[in-house]
């Protein structure tokens, strides 16, 4: 099975975006203290059939972005601004009832931990048929048959028996498959996968990623893949958004990003991870400090305190995400980008 990246890229060029996130801001307000800006002006598009990655480390705002898109943030203590246009309709302006209609039918989500996102006291089958009856208007019998074929499609052996099982009777990989089955039940046009394989072992991760790849290729569902694992990104995403401190710092196609990472943070990340296929020996090149050593964006580049290329020029207030003039396939928020491979220093 070959990767459908080429066909997807072709499909992407044709249409208008399925989802368009415009200047999304999410602030968590705290009594008596300055609010925490978890997402700080994030914009990106997802075309039909496209797999878009949101990559970054803990606290960079990638998960909060997806929760805001789905309208799943608690109403209290959270301020959301900007636009989330799904086929032109602003999801942030919808009522919770309208949103509930859309969720599960047009947009579905797969979370990291399948044990906490499945109901432990309801059989798996009921959780699948529930979606089908609610959103696709099937009767009990139809829904049961459809659920069985869904479980079979995601690679759960003996689906008829498994429908009666409770979540704790399934293994981790199997639970994640069940969750994917539920997410795909109504043939959503957008699937948001938030670290879908992080809790799984590598051999199971490989199975689940392969499954997601196949399903996206077969059904033409668009996908937002949220992960911290650059290896996962390299295998599945068409376009990648690298996030740092609540903002997108670099955006490029998958091949382009890995061939020539331009933001110092992206470059630093790629240098810091040991690679299985690289020649062994020598020290790793870590990024100094930790994700809490950030500069507020209004004072300069948030990554500057940890960056090896930073100087006084980096203290530009609210640095923009602009077209990279050296590698125009990139969008970049960096004053001193990593030179492209082969360039003279």
């Amino acid at each position: 099975m070959t990767v459908p990246a080429v066909t997807l890229a072709a499909r992407r060029r044709e249409g208008t975006p399925l989802l368009s996130v415009r200047d999304l801001q999410v602030r968590f307000t705290r009594r008596g203290r300055a609010p925490v800006r978890a997402v700080d002006g994030v914009s990106f598009d997802v075309a039909p059939g496209q797999v878009v990655g949101l990559v970054g480390e803990s606290g960079c705002g990638k998960s909060v972005t997806s929760l805001a898109v789905m309208g799943l943030l608690a109403p209290r203590g959270v301020e959301v601004e900007g636009e989330v246009l799904f086929e032109g309709q602003d999801l942030l302006a919808l009522s919770s009832d309208e949103l509930r209609e859309l969720r599960g039918r047009d947009i579905a989500m797969v979370f990291q931990d399948p044990m906490t996102s499945l109901n432990p006291v309801v059989p798996v089958g009921t959780q699948v048929t529930e979606v089908l009856r609610r959103h696709a208007g099937m009767d009990r019998g139809q829904a049961r048959d459809e659920a069985e074929s869904l479980l079979e499609r995601v690679g759960i052996p003996d689906p008829a028996r498994r429908l009666k099982d409770y979540p704790h009777q399934l293994s981790g990989g199997m639970r994640q498959r069940a969750l994917i089955a539920i997410a795909l039940a109504c043939k959503p046009r957008l699937l948001i996968a938030d670290e879908p394989t992080t809790a799984l072992d590598v051999t199971i991760q490989a199975q689940v990623l392969e499954l997601l790849k196949q399903l996206v290729a077969e059904t033409g569902t668009a996908m937002i893949m949220i992960t911290h694992d650059l290896g996962v990104v390299a295998g599945i995403c068409d376009e990648v958004n690298v996030m740092y401190a609540g903002r997108v710092v670099e955006r490029a196609g998958r091949r382009e990003l890995f061939a020539s990472p331009r933001h110092q943070y992206t470059g630093g990340l790629l240098r810091s991870i040991p690679r299985l296929d690289a020649v062994r020996g020598g020290q790793l090149t870590p990024i100094p400090g930790s994700a809490s050593d950030v500069l507020p964006w209004e004072r300069g580049c948030a990554f500057a305190p940890r960056c090896s290329a930073q100087d006084a020029d980096c203290l530009v207030p609210d640095l923009e995400l602009t077209l990279d003039d050296v590698r125009p396939e990139h969008r970049l928020r960096c004053v001193h980008p990593v030179p492209p491979p082969g360039a003279a220093l």
């Binding site: 995601v154 199971i204 890995f258 040991p274 994700a291």
Partner: protein, 352 residues
């Protein structure tokens, strides 16, 4: 395997079987979870042995059993010539000074109500280190310097540090008594990617400066390969392959290792698109009832009829220092047996 005086740790036929009890009052033992089931390996002084495997393979239990933090139910562990399994509790306590452990989650393994100084002094007090409180406090400064923290850190509490700094404190505590052996159980997996490399480098620096011997337990083969001289691959409580670190990646011999390596995502789209991925069918069987014959035969894409199902493969040395427990390792290596399309699971098995 190399023998002789340079072997610091010698594990022979180590077994840890946890009883499964049933019933409310009588608590009859109805079976055993064979977490570690007959493992033998050597660790040479000043080197690093990496243990990899997926959750439930017994790698953490093996690490703990070596230090007798869980009691082995069989076999022996010789540390610098002394059999730890026969020591009295007091003798064991004294010998623990020379073997320490670094845990995965430094937030959970450091007492949140003690400041760093008291956290680091505690092991010195427990082992009545020479010099008394004044010398201990001086040693705290020295330790903080060794792990790259400022001496002002001594007065702070664990919650005031980032994950990477907390792991540095955990490491400082482990090396406080100048041990010979440090067992690190998933030392970086709770940390952010950009910070993992800092801790990996620190572990390597300390090994060089202090002549430490490491056993590093992790699920991330890329990290383990980077840090280890030798790697042991575990599956369902058994060692299925052991080899010098470079060799394991260049020529994995056990079908499980081959599949494991092929499943690890590499941050390079060119490699990812070209790669032939061997997907394993199904899930890990229960360690309470491991499959007969070769434990891996239920998922093995190279499985051959009858022998794999009936006969337990011995760990054989195929190349110097490279041991593998597979009946067909030579045939798999030379391409005489190829991975089969698995019939168990149509969407997620076979070669891709």
């Amino acid at each position: 395997m190399t023998g002789g005086g340079d072997v610091l740790l010698e594990v022979r036929d180590l077994e840890v079987h946890f009883p499964i009890r049933s019933g409310v009052l009588l608590q009859r033992t109805v079976g055993h979870v064979r977490a570690v089931d007959g493992i033998s390996l050597d660790v040479r002084r000043g080197t690093t042995l990496g243990l990899v495997g997926e959750s439930g393979c017994g790698k953490s239990t093996l690490g703990r059993a070596v230090l007798r933090l869980v009691e082995p139910t069989g076999g022996s562990v010789r540390f610098d010539g002394v059999d730890l399994t026969t020591l009295s509790p007091e003798e064991l306590r004294r010998s623990r000074r020379r073997m320490q452990m670094v845990f995965q989650d430094p937030m959970a393994s450091l007492d949140p109500r003690q400041d760093v100084e008291s956290l680091l002094v505690e092991p010195m007090r427990a082992h009545r280190l020479d010099g008394g409180p004044t010398a201990w406090r001086a040693r705290v400064r020295e330790l903080l310097g060794l792990v790259g923290l400022p001496s002002t850190a001594a007065a702070k509490y664990p919650h005031e540090f980032s994950g990477g700094q907390r792991q540095r404190i955990g490491i400082a505590r482990a090396i406080a008594l100048e041990p010979d052996l440090v067992i690190a159980d998933e030392p970086v997996s709770a940390l952010d990617v950009s910070v993992q490399a800092q801790v990996v480098n620190l572990l390597e620096e300390l090994q060089e400066r202090l002549g430490l011997t490491y056993v590093v337990i992790a699920h991330d083969l890329a990290v383990v390969r980077h840090i280890s001289d030798e790697i042991g691959v575990m599956y369902l409580g058994a060692l299925v392959e052991q080899s010098p670190s470079e060799q394991l990646y260049l020529q994995p011999l056990h079908p499980y290792t081959i599949s494991l390596i092929s499943a690890i995502p590499v941050p390079d789209p060119e490699v990812e698109d070209r790669r032939e991925r061997i997907l394993l069918a199904g899930d890990l069987p229960s360690p309470a009832a491991p499959p007969p014959g070769c434990r891996f035969h239920t998922r093995c894409p190279f499985r051959q009829p009858t022998r794999c199902d009936d006969e337990v493969p011995a760990l054989r040395e195929l190349a110097p220092g490279h041991r593998v427990a597979c009946h067909w390792a030579e045939d798999v290596r030379d391409g005489r047996i190829v991975a089969a399309e698995s019939a168990h699971d149509p969407t997620a098995a076979g070669t891709v």
